[in-house]
Symmetry: C2
Subunit: 269 residues, 2 copies
């Protein structure tokens, strides 16, 4: 089921600024028992992303009800898109514009099935992410860099690509955040100039102290992960996954992905 | 009139990758007597932009016929959007996907009316454009930087904002290319890492020798335009416009915008 502004529909206005300019934001989240998982975090992130673009964020209650409506059909995922609504031609954001909201149910992708192996294969991407502090961190609809990076491989055994910025510093995965454990510290790249600050990443940074881990967010070269006890990716759909192989390098496992996955789900909201 | 894949429609599939990721390109062009102006250049640019994103470009004849259909209604502008079509969730570009094409008629914006004054007022934007060689030059649908830059002002007397990249070097206008004449040379900023390589800019670079002008494309600091005989913006809708005022600075006119406008229209196709 797909709801567009609360009505069952399979189309959006061709003048929508989401199509014209990618002028909007989105979320993909798990559902369980007809309700969104981690809703508090997801709505807070959506509201923050809308605020960063001066977009009107849909009312929390309205949006949650719509996610529940699509989740009742038994789907595993819900995707929310919020755009600046329809507009005339021209970049100037119209005043008093009502946002467009799309809520759709989606099946779990193959690589996120529970029976999937924990250790995934990843590759280093050639594309370098631009640095744009005004857009970094936000899960906005301008995702051509991700599309081009994901187009670099066709091998279905490769689940994720790892991206660096134009300076060659680690940013994250094409569809996930990157993290690793070294010397008792959970490390994850800074995303203040490139990349997305995902909800799963935020939850893990919050959970780390409960596991006796320190946290460090910084700018790291690719070599930084070679010395890690365990390298992982995370997002709201996959949870935490250990990277078992990165290009030609076998990466060690120290059981952290299991512990972090448990911690990730300890807070239910 | 709006045509979506050749059919009169006002909506696109909510699963279109143009909405999901800004995964597509667009053109805005003038029409006259029921036909597109500068069609050869516009189609060549569209095809080049599609190729850069590995998008299937619509057939030239089909697309031109559709532009003529919307132009017959007497509209001044046509906008073409080409996206990678509908897709399942996920960044991976689907194989053998049919592109979505949208062709719509639009009225001439107020700032492009013929009775508009030649000398426009512009401002320097605060936003700095990211540098991304993989996307620069392409008129793609990831235009949040332009939206944020255009949101910096509300004064209807200001027609355009001038943008620099993260290194503080000139790139162009929010909706136009930037050019200036100094010492018998038409200068325009390099757009190989940020900005759009517009059709009007390409036509002017081609026309310059006919006016006895050399051409130079390079990386220039904002100070470079202060010494110019005349500073101008150009695009397919506005043609060439002299910048009469840039923030608090009055900019000289030397009649170049009139001469360049004439040259711009000498090639009819």
């Amino acid at each position: 089921m797909i709801l567009v502004n609360g009505h069952v529909s399979d189309c959006v206005d061709v003048l929508d600024r989401g199509l014209a300019y990618g002028d909007g934001v989105f979320r993909t989240l798990r559902t369980a028992a007809g309700a969104p998982c981690w809703w508090r975090d997801h709505y807070a992130k959506l509201a923050g992303d809308c605020a960063a673009l001066a977009l009107e964020c849909p009312d929390e209650g309205v949006l949650r009800d719509e996610v529940c409506r699509v989740a009742e059909a038994g789907v595993a995922l819900a995707k929310i898109i919020v755009t600046r609504g329809t507009g005339a031609r021209g970049y100037a954001p119209p005043h008093g514009q009502t946002a467009t909201r799309v809520v759709m149910g989606l099946p779990l992708p193959a690589h996120a099935q529970p029976e999937g192996v924990d250790g995934i294969t990843a590759r280093g991407c050639t594309l370098r992410l631009a640095r744009q502090p005004r857009l970094a961190g936000i899960k906005h609809l301008n995702r051509l860099e991700n599309v081009l990076a994901r187009a670099e491989w066709d091998d279905p055994d490769i689940v994720e690509g790892i991206l660096c910025d134009v300076d060659g510093m680690l940013v994250g995965g094409v569809m996930s955040n990157l993290l690793w454990i070294a010397q008792g510290i959970l490390h994850t790249p800074d995303v203040s100039a490139s990349g997305v600050a995902g909800v799963a990443r935020a939850r893990l940074l919050r959970a780390a102290p409960r596991l006796g881990l320190g946290t460090r967010v910084g700018r790291y070269p690719p070599a930084a992960i070679l010395a890690a006890e365990e390298v992982m990716i995370c997002n709201s759909v996959l949870g935490v996954r250990h990277i078992a192989r990165l290009d030609d390098v076998c990466c060690p496992s120290a059981g952290w992905s299991t512990r972090l996955n448990t911690a990730l789900h300890e807070e239910t909201d």
